[in-house]
Each structure stands twice: as C-alpha cells, then as structure tokens.
Symmetry: C2
Subunit: 680 residues, 2 copies
C-alpha cells in the first residue's frame, strides 16, 4: 500500500495528502487554503499562481524532488508567452501533485490578502469586498428542457462556485442574452453579496474572462470638501485619490446655514441634493480618468458623511436636523443602487453603501472613525477628535464608548479668518514666534524651508505666500499667547504693551503682522482680533464637547488623544494643547490618525464583515447631545480663555509658563473689551 | 371560585374562556379567530365589527343574557353617528366580555374572507394579498436615545403587529418625516410582504388612519388586447374592468412579426416597450377614473402575458424568442417596483409581480391558466385550451401536466377574416344555417333576438350589423359544413352545386352571403374561400398542438375540455368540435372557463400563497415544443380537412352525418384547388 503525496502550503502551514494527479488548486480548495481563482481552474485567469519549493524542508518534514509537480504544460506556456509569468511560478490549476511538495502562495494570489494602510496606523485591511468577479461556463439553452438564460447562469454559479440563489439586478437583464452569446456561454460576472443575508446579486456581466478589474470608491462627503479614494477591489490598492469643494457651499458655509436654506426656500433641499450629486458624478469621472479606467468598472461606493450631508445626499429634507430633537429620517445603514442617487457616471448598478448614523448630530462619518480607530477595542481611555466644520468626538475604551458632535464652525478650516485659506501651496502651515524679539518665522505648504532659512524667498517665488491655513492659524494663536502677545482673555496687546511694532492698530483693536509683501503688490498677512475670537469660539466648542463626554464617563483625564480629519493630520499637538482645544494628555500620547473617516470608508469598501461590525458597534455607542446639555454651555464659556497654566510639556525647554499678561483694549484707554463683553 | 365567561365565535366555532372585561377583539386574536383590524383596537377603523347573539344556544351549550357584553360606549356612539353602524353590530375592540356570549363575525369583518369568482368556476379566492394596511402609533424621537424615524416606525410594526424587520422603499424615505408629524405620530402604512422571504417593505404611508382603501391591478397583457381588472385588495371586489388594444399592433399583428420588427429595426424592441408601457399608464389612469379612485392607491400589479409580450414589457429584446432554441432571458417570476417599468400613473412604489414563464413559447399567461384551472389537481384528464393569437394548451391530471403553445394566428379573433371584427355590438356572434333552405339566421352582440325574429331590425337599428366576430366565424364555417355548403377539404360550392344563390362567385372561388345591406349603404357580409382557409389554418394549429400533447401523454381521448380566453367564453363547443378545433369529448364535458389567464392574475393578486404555488407548479410542468416537433407538422396537415364523420352528438337531432359533398373549384372547371395546392 502506497501513501498519497503530502502537500504543504505556506505561509498558512495547511497540509494534507492528495492522490497523484490532483491539481494544486484543487488541493488548496479542499484544505481551505486562500488561493485565488476567477476562472475556476480553467487556466485562463492566472490568479492561482503558486511557487513550488524544492529540496529538504526539515521544518515540514518533507523532501521535495524536482518532479514533485507535473511538467510545465502548454496552457502555462501559452500564458507565459502572452502575459508573462515570474520565474519559478506555476499555475495552480495546471500543476498537478506527483510527490511530496511544499507550495508557497504569494500574497498576490491570496483572495483575502491583507493591505497595509498607508496611514500611521498599522492595522491592515483584510480584502473581502462585497463585489467579486466570477468566471462561469453556462449551459446552452435546450428547448426540450426550457429555462431562462438567467436561471442557467444562476445554476452555473451554484454548481461551479457554490453560490446559492443568485439573482440579477433588473436593469442587467437586457444585457444578459447578448453577452452570453458573445462570450460563447463563457462569461465573467460581478456578484454583489449583501452582508445582511439578501440574495447575491449579479450587477455586471462581460463576455469571456473579464480582465479589466473591479473598482470601488470610498467617499468622505464633508460639508466643505468631498474626498474620494478609487480602490482596486482585488488588490485593495488606492489607485487614485481626488477631492473637490462641496458645491453646496454656495447655499451656506456650515451645516446649520444649509438647513436654514432648506427651511427658507421651498425645494431648497432638492437644489442642494442635485448640486452634490452632480459634483459626485464629476468627481467619479475625473478620478477614473486620472487612474485611466472605465468609470463603469466602479461597482461599489461607500459614503461617510455627517447627518445633514447624509440627508442631502439621499434626497431627504434635513429640516428636522435643524431643531430639537434632531430626528434623522433613518439612522440605519443603507444599501441601494447608484442610479437611485443619480450617480450615472459610474456603473448604474454599482451598490452604494452608506454607513449608519450614530445620532442626529453624530453621523456616518463618526461611525467611520469608530470603525477605523476602534475606541471600543482600546484598553486605554482614548479621546478621538475628528475636526471639521463640525467636530465629531468619541471617548471610550473596552467598557463603553461615548459620542457627540460639536459645532466648531469653519474657522479651523481657514474660513472666517482674515487671511485664512484652505491647505494649498503658498499657505502658512507652521509658525514660531520668538518670545524675545516677538518676530515670527514660518513655513508654507510646498516648501520645506523656514522663512528665515537662506533660499526661502526663491523657493516660494512660484507659489507666493498667500494666506494661513487651519493648522497655521492654530499655531499662530498659540505662539502669540506663548510670546506674550495675547492675554488670557485672548486680547492682542498694542505695540506699547507688547514691545513690538508688529502689533498694529486695527480699528479699536490690534492685529499681529506676520508677513507683509504689500510693497511688491503682495498680501499683508495679519492675525486680527476677530481671528482670535473665531478660533476661541471654535476651540471652546471642541473642548466643551470633549469635557462633556469626560463628565459623562466620570473622568478628569484621558489616557491618549487621537486627532483625526485631514486637518488633524497637520495639527501640532503641542499647540492644540496650549490653545486648549483638547484636554491635557501626555504629548507623546497625542497622535494623528489622518483622515480616519476616509479610512473607515475604505475599510467598509474592502471588507464586507466590517459593515456588519460597524452596524453592531453603532448600536452600542452612547450618544450625548451637546445642543441641549446645560453643562455644554458651561464648559463652552469656561473654555473661552487661553489660560495661564504651568507648562504641560516640561521636556520642551522653550515653554515654561505662559506669561501672565493682560491688556486693555485699543489705544483710547478704558476697558474696551469689558464694554464689548457687556454689550454682547 | 367563579369560572370565566365562555366566548363562542361563529362561523369558526372557536371558543374559549376569558376574564370579564376582555375586549372581544382580544379574545378573537387569542383564539386565532379571523377578525380584521387595521387600527389595532383603537376604535377608529371599524374593521372589527361583530354581531353578538342573545338567548339560548343549545348547539353551543350557552345561554347569552342581554348584558353579556359591556354597554354600548361613546367610541361606538361616535362611530355610528359619523359613519353609521348596522343594527345589532358592535365594535369588537370596544365591546368587552361580561358573561357567556356567542359572537358572529360577519364576512366583511374577516381578514381572509373568501371571494366567489364571477366566472363559471365555483372556486373561491381567499383574500390574502401581499400588500396590506397597518395603523401604528410611533414613538416620538428622543434626542437622548436617538434613532431614526424609520427605525421607530419599524419598531412600532414589530411591537404592535408582530412584523419583524420591516424596511421602507428608498423613494418613500423622503415622505416619512412630514407624514409622521402630520399624523401626530399616528400613521397608516401599506406594507408589502415578499412571498420568497424578503424583508417586508413599506410602500406607502398616510397620516392618521387611511380610509381610502388599497387597490391592485390584474393585467392580462395580450398580443392584441390588454385587459385590466382593478381590484379592492381588502374585499377582493373587482371595482372596474377595462381594456384597450395593444398599441404594438402597429409594429406587427402577431408575435412573430413583432419579433421580426425588433430584428430588422435597431431599437425596435425599445419602441415597442415604450408603446406598451404608455398604453398601460393610459389604461391605469382610465380604470382608476372609472372607479373614482386615486391611481396612487394602486399598490400592486400582477401581469400575465406570453413570452414575447413578457420580454417587451420588461424591456428585453425578444429576438431570441424568434428562433430555436427560443431562449427566455429569464423564466422565473419577477417582483419589481412599478417605476422600473415606467408605470408612473399608479403608485411608483407599487409592487409588480410577473408570473413565471413555462417555456420560450409558453408564457406567464399559460402559467396563470394553470393557476386558475389547476389541471394538476384534476382526477380526469383535462385539456385546457386558451385561444388567442397564440393558443396555450395544457393537458394533465394529478399525475402529470403537459404544456405547449400553438401559433393559431389572429383569425379566431376576427382578424384576417374578410368581414371579421372584434367582439363588439353589431358583430354577428351566433349563426345557424337551415340544411334545407341553406338560409342563415344569426344573432348580433347587443341584441337577444335572432335575425328572423320579429323586431330584430328595429332592435339592431342603433348598432347596425357590422361584421362577424371570432365565435361567429367558427359557427359560420361549421354550419356551412353541416349544411353541405363546404366539402371536406373546405371548398365552398357554387350556387349550382349547393342549390343556393347565396353561394356567389368571387374571383376563382365562391363566397357565402350571410347578410346584405348594401342597398341601404350598409355592409355586405360574406364568408369567402379565404376566410375558410384562414380558419382551417388556425384550427389545424390548435388541434395539432392538442394532439401532440395527447401523443406525449399516450392517450387518444381526453375526459374533458376547458375552453379559456375571452373568446373561449363565447365559443360553441358543438361547432368547435364539428370544425375539428378540439379533440372529441362528450359535449357536456366541454366547458368554458372565461378569461382563465385573467382569473389567474386575479388569484395571484389577491393571494400571496398562490404566487409560491404557481412558481412550484410551473417547475413541474412538462414543456413540449411544437415548433421543431415533426409530429406537429404531421398533425397540422392531417387536421386541415373538415372531416366527414358520424355525429359526435347523437342527442342533437339536427346533426346526423356531415354531408359527403365535394366540389371542384371555381366556374372554369378543372381542379383549381388542386392546382393551387401544388403551387403552394
């Protein structure tokens, strides 16, 4: 009695004995080894490439001889000559087991390969998208045993792939018959699986083997900007990223002004819905063009957005979100075809997945942050702050997760700031102010030099110095406070009071001059008293929201802070803390998660199980409503100051104690600021 | 210890003991008594009306005293004064049990009431439509425990009606919030249940209690005519019926000429799709107008149609149906929203159900006939013939059911007949020819008198005598044969040969004059040799199809014959058999089922279980393809003659043996007909 050859797969370590002549792909499937195949073992898709190893493998207890696999065959030869095949690779569906063998499955041949995220976080995404390609051979029609073409296609999916009960999107039915005949009864279908147990649905079909790939869009639909990542649904690779301004800005800069627009203008919600859908079509078109793919290959789209954007995207009047009790029309996740959102630039049968909303003020974007940052899996108490026009705030650990949102307004994004601008080349993003000379040095986006480095002028000649972006204004205000140019209440001192001519009168208040190119016709960039007030309002709102969650949790400190959002990635933790934007935490425990909402969208795009997970997690999050909570107002008022406090960062020599300065306002004497306050 | 009062419900006989004070509705629900309620017992919908009986009931062993139920209350008083309540009726949700009582549930208070079909058949339809009304009270939003309005509505359906996992049609979401607020959190929803286990779906919502009812359309979409029955989904009553010509006729009279049009004209299929969808919208509008209801209350539509109509309705190119192997794009039943078929005249969220097709030539209309006539439940071997432009034929009994279709062409519908017209007032529908005088007498639609009755001329003065309809032409041909005016081959004899001046020359053949009003400028109605040939072709096709199924079944006779189709209802079984349209059967076992396909559509509209049933039955039917079966051609050729045979109906004194006549053709001598045949 002879023993069947032993087949060992790496890296999984799965092993089993198989009769001589068993194709490697068959062995892999029987063992549950993660080896890809679109064509089902017909030697045409090349997804099942494997690398056999020869020689002694004491670790596996196997000696592999040169003839452990069947000879290189004509199918492999044809594939290699046409498309190329790496040295040492075989096609798993062609190479058959002849003796004991060790087979390596390279990452690109794994179905559920892991994609390491670009961002700082080390967590990888396991590829398991809702939509996948399947190649099938369909039985030809037989008039003596009549069944529809669709029914035979579904039967082929069942028999060849074990997929039960597949149906087709209704609008695909008209393409079925010509494509089946063009492909001579061999077709590739894109099949969408519903994570809530609905029937698998065929959303696209191609004659023969489709080799153009499948793509998905992860879209972070913000009040101000719309960011999209075009993702290869096979590899998980982001093949292009693009963004544009949300055209709804013309109806109102922040959420509440858009809700007001809908309230005041009959049909205003529909106007805004139309505008954003048009922009999404433009964005899809341009991102596909950038990647050089046919937009019809985009078969999935995931949206994350705040509740107002959510309603306006879905064609729902957001008016209820503008007043207590802030009722959402629907809070659950949604799955619907792209055509229902008029997204005609991509495949009209593309499945759109919208993450669930947490509450009327805490949207699918916050859910996406929760999916990306997983506060509920953190042993430390983590505060996650996603700063945008509205800030979403999560606080939690393995015992409990709280969420709220806070209306920071657009100041952090450079809006409502006299020299503010969005983060683009030429914008000041970093500032330091010498505490002695009170002179600034700064860096602009697009140039690595500081403004007092040699060559800075030449290096920035092309872009110029155009304004201050969100992270720049935060640093400017914090540095002004540290340099004694601001008092605790946020008042800018006069030249006399501060000892620098850069503090110049502006009306009844003062402004601090950072850069003046007006002699050459360029801009004059200052931080005005109004700018300080806008930042104070924004940071107070943010801080008050975080404090409210801490009260609810019954804590005075958090273990760590995660700054999320495109803006969060560029913010200086030190300056944010000086400013009092976020509660104190050890500086080395303040990290940036980049665009965590966008990352959450990508995770939901690439992994179907993540959809079920976030739906469950959202149900378990405790929502805290800031708008009607008296303590929020209290915290908000208390947070207005830029307090005199001892150095939170003793290791940073430069900062000791914030100067205990205080100024009267303006040049005319008297408590101008005091009067103003009374009037407010 | 006292015993709780006994409550006996009639007609169900269900009984149980309930504590004093239990509302009758509650008792009914606990016993599973079929007592309707839309408002869930709030005393506003009046669906739960019951009739208590008082006195001795020896049958039930109960004596009911006058105070067996609680006193007539203010809710009932208000209802009665506003809407009226029949004498002796109580509202089941208000009247509470006080003592032993016998409660009758009148038919109109039963949810699953039975509706006796109008047609000859005695089978009743049990009302259990897919879409029903539910009144719910929805929790108001709470910002401290935020959930979407939809989620709270779904929870109300679960808590108040036991309906799990309800979702809403996406396009309804935008109406949810205003309606919930308008109804002060009390709303009525129309909920669609999917018989294949999909989630229940809310398709419409009204503030408060909706009292306008729900309606459905059962549509028999024929090649020539489209017939619709507007049905009250609560009572099952057909509130209006209407029909119109299928506008696709302008692209081709019969199915194959429409398929040819699609083949020859790029986009021709889409033109035909547009045409039929427009007609359906017109039809829906007019039928709703006729019934005086808002078309938006039509929330269900069931379609039955042949495969070519099926594909053109669904927007599928029918080209594959025009050539072997006659592959359907899909054969399964379909459920989709009306908007996907551009049916905008009715509720755009109305659910459309299309019955499954049996084969490429045997459509959803044949499936509907099977649902209505249930050949698979017949102990006798039954032949069911649905005569239209295509005939669908079913043969079967409890052991097996066979199906085929046969291209009879439009002759039976009065098309391609010289004096042919559709069945409308003025059309000759019955004919008798005196075998001695060879003179005809006839009746026209819209008048009960025969043409030789006194007063006939006056009675028909308004409509005139305009032509011959399908049933009239069949009687005419059969009577001509019985009167010796036709020979076995179908040739009309000359005046000399037949002995009547009514046989007049027409070209090289003869025609038989039935009615001549040409002197008064009216029509001259004859049966021409061409008419005879058209009828011969049609009847041969029909007979050959039936014979083919009998061959397949291995039988020479059938036990009974059912004639279906609008035409089948008016056909004379005797004449059909003389003509050889259908195989011989005892005359009293030839019945008419009326529009059985339309009835099948109504059944599927009114009873959700019938949908699952027909889907199962269709899978079990054996399909026989006539187009490529050599025996079909053989039977077809053999069936061309109108044979000399002994009287199949010995009890009908008038018919003895068909005359053994034969004529040469035309006035010129020689075998004209023979020559013609050779040329063909």
């Amino acid at each position: 009695m002879t023993t069947d050859p032993l087949v060992v797969f790496t890296p999984s370590g799965k092993r089993g004995r198989f009769p001589v002549g068993t194709p490697v792909l068959t062995a892999a499937r029987q063992l549950g080894v993660d080896l890809d195949s679109v064509c089902g073992g017909r030697g045409i898709c090349s997804k099942c490439q494997i690398t056999p190893s020869y020689g002694e493998f004491s670790k596996h207890g196997v000696t592999v001889s040169e003839d452990a696999l069947s000879d290189w065959n004509s199918v492999e030869e044809r594939y290699k000559s046409k498309r190329g095949l790496k040295e040492g690779r075989r096609l798993g569906c062609q190479a058959c087991v002849q003796g004991d063998v060790v087979i390596d499955v390279p990452p690109e041949s794994q179905v559920h390969r892991q994609v390491v995220r670009k961002a700082a976080s080390i967590r990888a995404i396991t590829m398991d998208p809702a939509t996948r390609l399947y190649f099938v051979e369909v039985e030809e029609p037989d008039m003596h045993s009549p069944t529809g073409d669709l029914e035979r296609l579904a039967r082929a999916l069942r028999d060849q792939w074990g997929i039960e009960g597949a149906t087709a999107d209704f609008s695909l039915l008209s393409r079925l018959q010509p494509v089946l005949r063009k492909g001579k009864w061999q077709v590739t279908v894109a099949l969408y699986r519903d994570h809530r147990g609905g029937a698998p649905k065929i959303v696209e079909i191609w004659p023969g083997l489709h080799e153009g790939g499948l793509f998905g869009l992860a879209i972070d639909l913000g009040s101000t900007t719309i960011a999209a990542h075009l993702t290869d649904l096979d590899t998980g690779e982001v093949v292009a990223s693009s963004g544009l301004m949300n055209p709804q800005i013309r109806f109102g800069e922040d959420l509440m002004s858009r809700v007001s627009y809908a309230m005041m203008n009959p049909g205003g919600d529909r106007e805004m819905t139309r505008a954003v859908r048009e922009a999404l079509n433009d964005l899809a078109q341009s991102i596909a063009g950038e990647a050089g793919i046919d937009p019809a290959l985009i078969v999935e789209t995931v949206f994350v957005c705040n509740p107002v954007m959510h309603h306006l995207l879905l064609g729902l009047d957001p008016v209820e979100l503008g007043q207590a009790p802030f009722a959402l029309a629907t809070s659950s996740s949604l799955t619907l075809p792209a055509r229902d959102l008029d997204l005609t630039a991509i495949n009209p049968r593309a499945q759109v997945y919208v993450l669930p909303c947490i509450a009327g003020h805490v949207g699918a974007d916050a859910a996406a942050v929760a999916l990306s940052e997983e506060p509920g899996k953190s042993k430390d108490l983590v505060l996650i702050v996603d700063v945008g026009t509205n800030a979403e705030i999560l606080l939690g650990n393995t015992t409990r997760v709280l969420a709220c949102s806070s209306p920071t307004g657009p100041a952090f994004e450079g809006a409502q700031i006299s020299a503010g601008q969005r983060a683009a080349p030429g914008a000041i993003e970093r500032i330091e102010i010498d505490p002695v000379t009170k002179d600034p040095r700064f860096r602009v986006i697009g140039c690595d030099l500081w403004s007092d480095d040699p060559g800075f002028a030449a290096a920035t000649a092309a872009t110029g110095i155009t304004g201050i972006c969100g992270s720049g204004i935060i640093e400017a205000v914090a540095e002004m406070r540290m340099a004694g140019l601001l008092d605790e209440s946020g008042l800018i001192g006069s030249a006399d009071q501060t000892g620098t001519a850069r503090c110049i009168p502006e009306g009844r208040t003062h402004a601090y001059l950072i850069h003046d190119a007006s002699a050459d016709g360029g801009p004059r960039i200052t931080v005005t008293q109004g700018d300080i007030r806008a930042i104070q309002l924004a940071k107070s709102a943010l801080y008050a929201g975080a404090r409210l969650l801490m009260d609810e949790m019954g804590v005075d400190r958090v273990d760590r802070v995660v700054l999320a959002g495109a803006f969060g990635a560029h913010i200086s933790p030190k300056h944010a803390m000086v400013l009092g934007m976020i509660p104190d935490a050890p500086l080395d425990r303040v990290t940036s998660a980049g665009n965590a909402a966008g990352t959450g969208a990508r995770i939901a795009l690439c992994n179907i199980a993540a959809r079920a997970e976030i739906e469950r997690v959202v149900g378990e999050i405790t929502k805290v409503e800031t708008a009607i909570e008296p303590r929020f107002q209290e915290h908000f008022v208390n947070a207005n100051a830029i307090p005199h406090k001892t150095d939170p960062f003793p290791d940073l020599a430069k900062i000791v104690t914030l100067p205990d300065v205080s100024f009267n306002q303006g040049g005319r004497g008297g408590d101008g600021e005091g009067r103003r306050r009374r009037r407010a």
